[in-house]
């Protein structure tokens, strides 16, 4: 516990130090930041100023975020990398949730490390979010827009106000923290539930107490059960409301942190769009981690072919789902042709952003789709290992495509901050994940499905062939 606390404190110190240092460095540029919002409204609502903006190809042409100052360059790169890693954490949480909801056997051997990845949402991802909170007034153009002058901002009140943004962001992390921690708590408790050495506590949290009280009071349910059965039931309970909380919180997060860069825009598909990409990249990551843990140790005899095959199949399904969602978003906007919506894609067809869009069509959809169409390629490591890495690249470019045109309207602009931010976030998460993974059993020890997934047949208790107790 002490160790965890120390490492968290250290992390906070590092992140704050970095942010403060950068803020100080960028204080010199402060003066230029106040004049950035003229193009936003003009570019999106008034066609005359919009055309003027397009015709006027001068060096001083900025995107909706205004001049790319030092702090902005860093902030946007950091946001892109952050949204990329947030996808992996949220996607893992989703896989854990469906594992409980659908009672799958193939997720069981990989569930423990997915729980650890999901648990990175709080506090690690929260601490890593602090720089974005600190730089929010620089990153998000709406922070300095006036709701009296900007109709979109006014119409979306109170979602896009400073207090709502800060409180909402913190709330999202608290909700994720509670959900992921409770899921992992019961999963870990199940490991020791029936061990002769003890160690089982089975403390009910807020939600457990509330739901047990309700079900006993109103429905007369009083449950007497073995500890390991209770753990399974509690995980199912958290997954049951968790999937709804997950859907709402992910949508809000993607709207606040990514779509909010251009608050004038409308898209009802955006939450699903981010969700589809998240689960897609999380499945690719999970495939690679499973493979790594199988060849190098703890999951050697636990993760079997069916897990890899099913991960691959679900990855393939989400390839199709992602493109279905992204196409639908594009198609609806294209078909309706309303300026309030089309401007988002118009900006993303300028300069080399057009090529990034093509890369997403062919690299994010067609390549994985055609390669994985055959049933046996999902087990072919010569395809799947490069595919996992390719999926990371594609998802990162997807995040770039969403975030960066606001700052660099002329085209893709990879700065030194991009690899630095990816490296920093990835390293921190990897260290935190590794320490969590090393502290606990590598897979659920007493899950009712663990024997099945390992290919062992256990006679049920009470059957005539069961071994004598």
């Amino acid at each position: 516990m002490m160790k965890v606390f120390k490492s968290i404190t250290l992390l906070v110190a590092i992140v704050f130090g970095l942010t403060c240092g950068l803020s100080a460095k960028a204080a010199e540029h402060q003066g230029e930041e106040t004049v950035l919002h003229a193009p936003i409204d003009g570019g999106n609502h008034g066609s005359t100023t919009g055309d003027a903006m397009h015709d006027n190809h001068t060096a001083s042409e900025y995107g909706p975020a205004g001049e790319p100052t030092f702090l902005k360059k860093f902030g946007y790169s950091y946001l892109t990398a952050y949204m990329f890693f947030l996808s992996i954490c949220l996607g893992s949480l989703f896989i854990v949730l469906i594992s409980h909801l659908l009672d799958t056997q193939w997720i069981v051997p990989i569930r423990r490390y997915l729980e650890h990845i999901a648990c990175q949402l709080f506090p690690t991802m929260f601490i890593l979010f602090l720089p974005i909170m600190a730089l929010a007034h620089v990153i998000y153009p709406w922070f300095s827009a006036d709701p009296h002058m900007d109709h979109a901002l006014h119409a979306k009140w109170p979602l896009f106000t400073r207090p709502a943004f800060y409180i909402g962001s913190v709330l999202l992390f608290l909700v994720w923290g509670y959900l992921t921690r409770r899921l992992r708590y019961w999963s870990l408790q199940q490991d020791v539930a029936e061990s002769p050495n003890g160690g089982y506590e089975g403390r009910d949290g807020l939600v457990e107490v509330f739901i047990t009280a309700v079900s006993t009071k109103f429905f007369g349910h009083s449950v007497e059960e073995r500890p390991s059965v209770k753990c399974s039931r509690m995980m199912n309970l958290h997954a049951s409301y968790g999937i709804i909380v997950f859907a709402l919180s992910l949508t809000l997060a993607s709207i606040y942190w990514m779509k909010g860069l251009q608050h004038q825009w409308f898209s009802t598909m955006y939450g699903v769009y981010y969700f589809a990409g998240s689960v897609w990249v999380a499945l690719a990551t999970s495939y690679l981690i499973s493979l790594w843990l199988k060849t190098n140790g703890p999951l050697q005899h636990v993760v079997r072919e069916s897990t890899f095959h099913d991960t691959g199949k679900l990855f393939f399904a989400f390839t199709v789902f992602y493109s279905y969602i992204h196409f639908s978003q594009y198609f609806l906007i294209w078909n309706a042709a309303i300026p309030e919506e089309t401007f988002w894609y118009v900006q993303r067809e300028r300069g080399s952003w057009w090529w990034v869009g093509q890369l997403l069509i062919f690299g994010h959809f067609f390549l994985p789709f055609l390669l994985l169409l055959r049933i046996d390629t999902k087990l072919n490591l010569n395809v799947m290992i490069p595919m996992g890495i390719w999926a990371w690249a594609m998802h990162y470019f997807d995040m770039q495509f969403n975030v960066m045109p606001v700052l660099y309207p002329e085209g893709l602009n990879i700065t030194v901050w991009d690899p630095l931010c990816i490296g920093f976030l990835g390293l921190v998460l990897w260290i935190r994940f590794n320490s969590a993974f090393a502290s606990f059993a590598p897979y659920p020890q007493r899950d009712p499905r663990i024997a099945e997934t390992m290919g062992v047949y256990v006679e049920p208790e009470g059957s005539k062939n069961a071994p004598a107790q």
Binding site: F331, N335, A337
Partner: protein, 219 residues
């Protein structure tokens, strides 16, 4: 003609009122198992040999040895899907996927060409200020055509590969098969048309797998 068949035909002549008796007589014949083998005299009357097992595990082990014996025209019938049976039977991945793929690809192409021809060639009409042809608005319909034709491809391909429709299967006349395979028995059926089939060797093979009930299915 085999003795068993004679028995049956006699009973058949006895009329409908005797149906219950006939059933029990046939069941008795079936349950006697090995002893009845002598009754079946000529191989041409036999459609298949059938090994009946009580557990999925037994049937799976039997399937493994039949597979290793190099048989090709055989099958395992179980009341529910048994995981791992396809590997135990040595079944390759189904070829139906290719039919689906060809169906889907042609469906997509046909959909796109149809809309292109209708909207941009045959009867130009401007809708909503959009271009005469654009893959965007043509996509949803082409996508539906993809699904439709790949479903056709799958269905037709499946029927073709399974040699369906088939109007008659001798197995369905067999009482042990009909009552067991949909209830609580796991049945390995090896057809006599298999090039590796021989009356003694095949029976020996099934006996070796611990089969307690071997039966011949008449054509």
């Amino acid at each position: 003609m085999s003795a068993a068949k004679k028995k049956t035909s006699k009973k058949k002549n006895a009329g409908k009122s005797d149906a219950g008796n006939r059933d029990s007589a046939e069941a008795a014949v079936a349950s006697e198992g090995f002893e009845n083998e002598e009754m079946v005299c000529c191989e041409s009357d036999i459609h298949a040999v059938m090994g009946v097992y009580d557990t999925p595990a037994d049937a799976m082990h039997a399937a493994e040895s039949v597979r290793d014996g190099g048989y090709r025209r055989w099958d395992v019938h179980t009341p529910f899907p048994v995981h791992g049976m396809d590997a135990a039977m040595g079944l390759k991945n189904s070829k139906v996927g290719w039919f689906s793929f060809v169906g889907g690809a042609s469906g997509y192409t046909i959909g796109m060409l149809m809309i292109f021809w209708m909207n941009a060639v045959d009867y130009n009409i401007v809708v909503g200020g959009k271009p005469m042809f654009s893959p965007f608005y043509a996509f949803p319909v082409s996508y539906e055509c993809t699904i439709l034709l790949s479903a056709f491809g799958t269905l037709i391909g499946m029927a073709f590969l399974n040699r369906l429709p088939k109007l008659h299967n001798p197995l369905l006349k067999n009482r042990t098969f009909c009552q067991g395979a949909t209830h609580d028995k796991f049945i390995v059926v090896i057809e006599t048309s298999d090039p590796r089939y021989s009356q003694d060797e095949t029976r020996e093979l099934l006996e070796k797998t611990g089969c307690k009930h071997i039966e011949y299915v008449e054509d």
